[in-house]
Symmetry: C2
Subunit: 411 residues, 2 copies
């Protein structure tokens, strides 16, 4: 099992390397109540690191599930104004946001999909004006994960609860580079250098498009926006603080041109969305838009995703990760995007990150749209990497460079 | 240890007999994150009882203590507007409020008393306009208790944590009338009839004043307001729902005339206030006002209480409880007002309950003041009952009736 020493190291890593809370800054931690012991360590480490105030925004999966079971669709969609004001208050204060995540995959299985859609649409509409704070890296933000019994049960259905949680802890701590006797912060600094290396190479190539092909049936061309910027690993917030939005992270990601994706993509991992697990799904794109789609499991949830709003049927992100990555090499299917997306090439339906185009974080919405950025109230990654993935980079003059061979970076 | 069956019975009791949540009504539960398993049962039982929505307002003693340790006085006093709006939203919706309490007595021992005072004054000022909702019984509210390791350690310093918690569970479940095979709701209905009996008798006597005297040095006359109403046990909310504000409850309480208390009172149990334990204290009253006071322990906290605002140096409640009461007979000093006040005659400094004067819940603040009601941002009970307490009721014509002899009701 995880030791007190490892737990505290992980908390310190989340606070210093994840959000990198600054002297006097407000830190908001979002967490499930079941994780209060780990959060207590994060609160202590944040104050030791100089935080001016730490506020924890608690939630409970148990209560959320009860709400979906018992509340009406109307009541679920009626989100009080103070919830918006609460978030806005923290953003106006220049706060940073740490999300401690331990979600049960498929928690809402069996819940009326109309209820879920209505509630999530209402929340997205309300919080839309506040999205740019994190999408634009105005303030620091980070997501870290903890095991939960529901998550462990899904990942290791044949193990006892205790064994499953222990295995999940092991995988999480490996992937975030925490062990009994290392210095995880130093390891992250080294790791970030490696991720930045690929971004640099890809930026130098300045491809017009990427072409993905494998034997499962993926045959997809993704045009990139002009003046695109490959990013990955750590990022820089408006206040100058360097932070790591995702822990773990292995990806290099870029901005697709909204109307420039064509072909077919076959997902290779299930997608945890709106409390369900969409599985065995295929999307077809024409001029950027999803024109056809099918899922073997949870087709209705996939429909909700694609039809969420105008922008959710267009891409907002394309990301490259070697198949032979540390997380994928665990052989574990996590049923959790934070892990599965860092084990596989992926795309995101929905809103693009402004940082993926030169000067993007300074642009207005109109300027970003002109640059080719997609807008949406949502941003959902899905995985399509495979051991035989071949990726060609296509240059402006039509010449090509092989980026991936047999699933891995070769550039 | 407590069984799953007892826990669920207790949760059901809190929801149905405590707040008595109505069909379609909003229930707000306030609780520490460490108590999430019990709260989960409350949420389920509330929905089963027909609640329209259950919202849990989580807090954490651990984080609160960190905040006091690390935040500045200014930051602690700067309470965001959304916290007021959050509470107001629930009151405007006609919600009911369940407080699940497991506080560690003396949690804030050693924290700068100025910080505590500033933070609590700021909170009291902000929430003052919302106080009347519960003080006036506009909506239902209830407080129930759970053991915590910090509380158990204080009450049973010589026991192991596990044994202490088990003993505290035993005492709590006894006092709220939950056992393995009884029907606690039926027992509460019966108990409430007994409490109402004393209120009826005291109302019929219509005393002008009460005179308290014991060998410890208490010698106090408390004048009651004209048209006073003795209350106790269950109460009726604005929507007609019958609820029990305190679980347990053994008290009959009434409204002192603001300027009519004279003499000296010696406290007989320590008082948990602002995270400290005030002990060995004496108050002297002249024409209603505390004119002299002393505490052997935590004198500064007692000063903070008496000088909190104008009204905190006058009484807002006088309550009668037999020394030979079920809670007192446990022989346990709980260091917690919910229990200790129901084991002992007590007084409260601060705001009076409008229901303790005829027509009071319909009166304006001015009318209540004219009737003799005290106003304050605070309301803090302290205990002074003893095994030799003698209480005489003094009638308008000067005649007297013995109410307590040797600590117990004899009327």
């Amino acid at each position: 099992m995880v030791s007190e020493n490892q737990l505290r190291k992980y908390a310190k890593l989340a606070v210093k390397m994840g959000v990198n809370v600054q002297k006097g800054q407000l830190l908001v931690i979002s967490a499930d109540v079941r994780d209060h012991e780990f959060v207590a360590l994060c609160v202590e480490e944040a104050y030791k690191a100089g935080a001016g105030q730490v506020y924890v925004n608690w939630s409970s999966e148990h209560d959320a599930l009860c709400n979906y079971q018992y509340m009406t669709k109307e009541a679920l969609s009626d989100i009080p104004q103070w919830k918006y004001d609460q978030r806005k208050y923290a953003q106006d204060k220049g706060g940073c946001f740490l999300n401690v995540m331990s979600s049960t995959p498929g928690l809402l299985k069996g819940i009326d999909s109309e209820k879920i859609m209505a509630a999530q649409l209402a929340a997205s509409k309300m919080f839309m004006p506040l999205q740019s704070y994190t999408m634009n890296n105005e303030g620091q933000w980070s997501i870290v994960a903890l095991p939960s019994s529901g998550w462990a049960k899904k990942v290791f259905p044949d193990l006892s609860e205790e064994e499953g949680i222990a295995k999940l802890w092991e995988a999480i701590l490996m992937s975030v580079r925490v062990s009994e006797d290392n210095d995880p912060i130093a390891e992250w600094e080294h790791h970030n250098e490696q991720v930045l290396h690929y971004s640099k190479v890809l930026n130098e190539q300045n491809f017009k498009a990427l072409h993905f092909k494998n034997k499962l049936g993926t045959d997809l061309t993704v045009e990139l926006v002009k003046n695109h910027v490959w990013a990955g690993g750590c990022e820089k917030a408006g206040n100058g603080a360097i932070f790591n939005p995702n822990m773990p992270t292995e990806e290099n990601f870029c901005m697709p041109a909204k109307y420039g994706t064509n072909g077919r993509v076959v997902a290779t991992k299930p997608l945890s969305y709106q409390g369900t697990l969409i599985d065995g799904f295929v999307l077809e794109f024409k001029d950027g838009k999803v024109v056809n789609y099918h899922a073997e499991k949870e087709m209705q949830a996939l429909k909700n995703l694609v039809e969420f709003d105008e922008g959710s049927s267009y891409l907002g992100e394309v990301a490259l990760i070697s198949y032979d990555s540390p997380i994928n090499n665990t052989g574990i299917l996590f049923y959790n995007t934070l892990f599965d997306e860092n084990a596989s090439c992926h795309l995101a339906l929905g809103r693009a990150y402004p940082m993926n185009v030169k000067g993007g974080t300074e642009m207005t919405e109109e300027q970003l749209k002109e640059a080719g950025a997609n807008f949406s109230m949502t941003h959902v990654d899905f995985m399509f990497g495979s051991s035989d993935m071949h990726v060609e980079g296509i240059k402006e003059d039509g010449s090509t460079v092989t980026v991936f061979e047999a699933g891995n970076f070769v550039i």
